[in-house]
């Protein structure tokens, strides 16, 4: 086993990408993810890669569109206000069936908000990607190690489904340091995918990267093809983790940093006499609906804990389909709940019956 290194979430994200073979980064500074572009500007030139500081997030996402069109392994990272500006570019990439990786270290909003931790871009990440009938495949790490691992894996997943992959984290994960096992940096794949542009050399038919389909039935066929890929991802890429009581009275649902808080709360609530299990979706789109639905038949209640005022809970409710009551515990605006508060709430729920 490799040695562990105490490293920050932002650095782990950047190193995870480089180690997986990402060699191109386009970005625009914004707190709390500045250590990602700073790390990239330092390290990419050392591995033959390229770092470009774009003049804006609008430019950054379109640089990524261009790089992705050539089949390069490329990424950008930003935080909420910047991700808002990237929506148009993401929509074009989905429509043009291009893979890329986008990291969102979510901060308090709406508007300029603040640089505190938040999960209020859940809808933006899982529903959005601008206009049109497409979505980002979205993954939510909950530790520094997972930031490193998942950011790396995101490149393979993006290639597999020819779709943008979003890594959704927050200001706490971005800034916190934890031991992390790093592997060797791998080189990026040299062979271009057969759909990529770069000159129709040696008699290969020319490639066109495009999202304009004036022929309506053709657009529908493209969208259905994209939808089939999402269905395929739902078969293969659903990820979740579960912790705590085997015969729970209460099921906690939380992702990312909220799941960390809940891990401790579930343990304490169980010790306090209310058997509690935590279910943590790691993939948010595709969503682990089936597992949640199965648990909904076996528990009294579900408590959804999120750093937003009821975004993630909608997916949980859609999964539960009314099988049991689903309650919300949310904080917003950069504030977080403590494990003590979550424990109290669970104990209250457990006793009220």
């Amino acid at each position: 086993m490799t040695k562990r290194k105490l490293i920050g979430g932002n650095e782990a994200t950047a190193e995870g990408a480089i180690a997986a073979g990402c060699r191109y980064f386009f970005g625009y500074p914004i707190t709390p993810q500045n250590k990602i572009p700073e790390y990239m500007s330092e390290h990419l030139p050392l591995v033959g890669g390229t770092y470009v500081q774009a003049e804006s997030e609008v430019a950054a996402i379109n640089m990524l569109y261009g790089a992705a069109a050539t089949g390069a392994w490329a990424m950008t990272s930003s935080s909420s206000p910047g991700i808002s500006l990237m929506q148009e570019g993401l929509s074009y990439m989905i429509g043009s069936e291009l893979p890329c990786v986008v990291v969102n270290m979510v901060r308090g909003g709406p508007g300029l908000g603040n640089i505190g931790p938040a999960q209020s871009d859940y809808w933006l990440a899982t529903r959005g990607a601008g206009h049109g009938d497409g979505r980002c495949l979205t993954f939510a790490p909950y530790s520094v190690q997972e930031l490193y691992d998942l950011t790396g894996e995101a490149f393979t997943i993006a290639q597999r489904y020819r779709n943008p992959v979003m890594i959704l984290a927050d200001a706490i994960l971005a800034n916190m340091k934890e031991p992390c096992r790093l592997h060797e940096r791998r080189d990026h794949p040299t062979q271009q995918p057969q759909w990529a542009v770069g000159g129709a050399r040696d008699g290969r038919p020319r490639n066109i990267i495009n999202s304009l389909y004036v022929d309506l039935p053709e657009e529908e066929q493209v969208n259905l093809r994209i939808a089939r890929r999402y269905a395929e991802a739902a078969q293969n890429e659903v990820r979740l983790a579960e912790y705590g009581a085997d015969k729970p009275q209460i099921l906690l649902c939380a992702y990312g940093i909220a799941a960390r808080i809940c891990q401790t709360a579930a343990q304490r609530a169980t010790q306090a006499g209310v058997p509690t299990r935590l279910l943590r979706p790691i993939s948010l789109f595709p969503f682990p609906a089936q597992t949640i639905r199965r648990w909904a038949d076996c528990v009294e209640k579900i408590l959804v804990v999120e750093l937003s005022l009821g975004q993630f809970i909608e997916d949980v409710r859609l999964a539960v389909e009314g099988r049991c009551p689903v309650e919300l515990m949310g904080r917003t605006g950069g504030m977080v709940m403590t494990p003590e508060e979550v424990t109290d709430r669970i104990v209250q729920m457990g006793q009220s019956d």
Partner: protein
């Protein structure tokens, strides 16, 4: 085992560095750990706090509502945070800047004149090491020797000339803590 410590002080006192060194030491002895810093958005002269959680297996929440232990480096830190210490908790306070009198009688208070000791060992900037030494003397997860090891890893090579001062500060802090605790226990 789950050890939660919250550290607070003003920018420049080395709050974040103390937290990182503790986290590094915990990692090096094979424990799980998370270190979570928070500092005010103003560029300079702001407040700095961090939370370190050490555990045998999963760390769980890096956010702690009522920590069992605190290191408070000045008066404002005491005023802002001491009421959140868990009953029966332990606090290591820098009495050079925060005095000796506190509102709570349900906790263990270790007062250490950290600025005075730091000056005495050769650098006022070693305040954080004095207090960290005091803290380590009161807990079990890591030893002073582990902290010394961690210091070597965290502090860049070119600053290693400050190592003797830092190590002296650690040990003096630990001695001061032992002295402070002995009459009441």
């Amino acid at each position: 085992m789950r050890e939660e410590v919250y550290m607070a002080g003003m920018g420049g006192q080395g709050v974040l560095l103390a937290g990182q060194i503790l986290a590094q030491a915990a990692m090096m002895v094979g424990l799980e750990v998370s270190y979570f810093p928070l500092y005010s958005p103003e560029v300079r002269g702001g407040r700095a706090t961090c939370t370190v959680v050490i555990a045998n297996d999963q760390v769980g929440s890096p956010v702690v509502g009522h920590p069992a232990m605190m290191i408070l480096m000045d008066k404002i830190a005491v005023n802002n945070h001491l009421d959140r210490l868990r009953p029966d908790g332990l606090v290591v306070v820098n009495s050079s800047l925060a005095g000796e009198e506190f509102d709570r009688d349900d906790i263990t208070t270790i007062t250490i004149p950290a600025n005075d000791i730091a000056i005495d060992v050769g650098s006022e900037r070693a305040v954080n090491m004095v207090l960290l030494g005091g803290y380590v003397a009161m807990t079990e997860s890591v030893s002073l020797a582990d902290i010394e090891q961690a210091l070597r890893e965290v502090i860049p090579e070119r600053h290693h000339s400050f190592m003797p001062v830092n190590i002296a500060a650690l040990h003096r802090g630990a001695q001061a803590a032992m002295k402070a605790i002995s009459p009441t226990r």
